[in-house]
C-alpha cells in the first residue's frame, strides 16, 4: 500500500520549493527543501504503475554475464523496464566520480529506442546484495503515451561494470 503523491499531488510542494529556490538561491533552496520534509516524507513514487507486459528476454554477453529483461510496464507518461543481471561486479559507490565517463553519464547506462524513437531516461535503480553478483534493475523512461511495439535495448554498463554490455531487440506481444 504505497502512498502515491507523485507527481500531481507533490506538484504544489514542488512549486513552493521551486519558488523558494528561485527566490533565495541554492542554499535557501536547501532550507526550503528541509521545510517541506514534513509534507513530503510520507510520499513515495509509484514509477511502475501501469500495464505490465511480460518479456522474459534472456541475453548472454561474450564475457559470460547474463541479462534477463523481465517485463515492461506501460504507464501514462513513462515506460519502465525491469531486468535482472548476473555476474555483475559493481564498482564502489564512492568511486563513481573517479571515472569521468561514469561521473558524466552515471554508473548504469541503458539506451532504449521504442518504435525507432530514442527515449529519455528519467531514473534508474539497481539493487542487490553485496555478497551477490546478481542485481535487479529498473529503468524508467519518458513516454508520450500510446502502445509501444518494438523495443531496441542497448546496455552499455551496469553499476560501472563495462563488461556487462548487451544489445537486444524484442516486440511486445
Amino acid at each position: 500500500m504505497k502512498k502515491i503523491m507523485f507527481p500531481s499531488v507533490v506538484g504544489g510542494a514542488t512549486a513552493l520549493l521551486l519558488a523558494a529556490v528561485m527566490l533565495t538561491g541554492v542554499d535557501g533552496g536547501n532550507v526550503a527543501a528541509r521545510a517541506q520534509t514534513a509534507t513530503l516524507s510520507v510520499a513515495s513514487t509509484a514509477p511502475t504503475a501501469g500495464i505490465v507486459r511480460k518479456v522474459a528476454r534472456t541475453i548472454r554477453s561474450q564475457t559470460g554475464k547474463g541479462l534477463v529483461i523481465q517485463d515492461v510496464v506501460i504507464g501514462v507518461n513513462r515506460l519502465t523496464i525491469h531486468y535482472k543481471a548476473t555476474g555483475i561486479s559493481p564498482i564502489d559507490f564512492s568511486n563513481i566520480n573517479a571515472d569521468p565517463t561514469l561521473a558524466a553519464q552515471g554508473p548504469t547506462l541503458l539506451r532504449v529506442a521504442v518504435d525507432g524513437r530514442m527515449l529519455r531516461t528519467i531514473e534508474g535503480t539497481t539493487s542487490g546484495e553485496t555478497q551477490s553478483s546478481t542485481i535487479l534493475g529498473e529503468e524508467v523512461l519518458q513516454w508520450s503515451g500510446g502502445v509501444p511495439h518494438h523495443f531496441s535495448v542497448v546496455v552499455a554498463r551496469i553499476m560501472g561494470d563495462r563488461q556487462a554490455a548487451f544489445a537486444t531487440d524484442f516486440d511486445l506481444k
Binding site: 520549493l17 528561485m22 513515495s44 563513481i96 554508473p107 528519467i122 535503480t125
Partner: protein
C-alpha cells in the same frame, strides 16, 4: 468406645478465653519478649515468607543462568531460522528531463530475516554522488527511515545532509544499532527522501523530486 475416640481426636482447640479461665494468666500478645527475641506478629511472618520466596527465586535464576547455557538451552528462544542479508543496497540514478545524468544516491542496510516474519535491521548507509551538470542544482539527503511492512515507522533516522556540490561524493554509515521490522504486507525495507532541485534556465525552471 467409638464415641470416646472421636471425642479425643476431634476435639476442638479450646478458645483463648477458656485457657485464661483455666489459669493461663497471660495472653500471647502480652507475653514479654525474651532477650534477643523479636516479636513475631503477622506482618513479620509475611515478610519472612516473602523473603524466603524471593531467595528461592534468586537461587533458581542463578542456577538457570549457569546451567542452561551449558546445556545449550536457549538457542531455540529466538525464532528458529534466520537469514542474514549483509549489505542489501539500492542505487538510484536521477536524470534531468533532457536526459542528462544528474547524480546517484545510495541506500544500504544489513538485516536478518527471521522465521516469524520479522526483520532485524542493524545498519543504514547512505550516499550521494553528483554529476557534473547544472551548477545551479542542489541535492539533499534527508531523513532515512525504516518501515514496518504495514507502513508504520519502525525507525526514524533524523539525518540531514546538505548540498555538497558538483562531482562531490558523500558516502557513510548514518545509523548503527538494531531495530525490528514487522512484516505484514509488501513494502520496501527502507525509504529516504532526496530533493533534487535545478533551475536550468530562468524561463524554464525544472524541479525533480525523487525518492525510491
Amino acid at each position: 468406645m467409638r464415641a470416646r475416640c472421636s471425642r479425643l481426636v476431634l476435639r476442638k482447640p479450646r478458645p483463648h478465653s477458656e485457657l485464661l479461665a483455666r489459669g493461663h494468666a497471660y495472653s500471647v500478645a502480652a507475653r514479654p519478649l525474651l532477650l534477643g527475641e523479636r516479636r513475631r506478629n503477622v506482618s513479620y511472618l509475611a515478610t519472612r515468607i516473602r523473603a524466603r520466596r524471593y531467595a528461592r527465586l534468586r537461587r533458581f535464576i542463578l542456577i538457570a543462568t549457569l546451567v542452561l547455557p551449558v546445556l545449550g538451552v536457549g538457542a531455540n528462544i529466538t525464532p528458529a531460522a534466520a537469514t542474514y542479508h549483509p549489505g542489501v543496497y539500492q542505487w538510484h540514478s536521477v536524470y534531468f528531463p533532457d536526459g542528462t545524468y544528474q547524480g546517484a544516491d545510495k541506500n544500504q542496510a544489513d538485516f536478518y530475516t527471521w522465521s516469524d516474519g520479522t526483520e532485524s535491521v542493524s545498519n543504514l548507509y547512505a550516499g550521494i554522488s553528483r554529476g557534473p551538470y547544472h551548477p545551479g542544482t542542489f541535492m539533499v539527503y534527508d531523513n532515512a527511515w525504516v518501515l514496518n511492512y504495514d507502513g508504520s515507522t519502525a525507525l526514524y533516522v533524523n539525518f540531514y545532509r546538505t548540498d555538497c556540490g558538483l562531482y562531490c561524493v558523500w558516502n557513510q554509515n548514518i545509523w548503527s544499532g538494531w531495530t525490528t521490522v514487522y512484516a505484514q504486507s509488501q513494502y520496501s525495507l527502507m525509504q529516504h527522501v532526496i530533493y533534487w532541485g535545478c533551475c536550468r534556465t530562468a524561463s524554464q525552471p525544472v524541479m525533480l523530486l525523487n525518492w525510491p
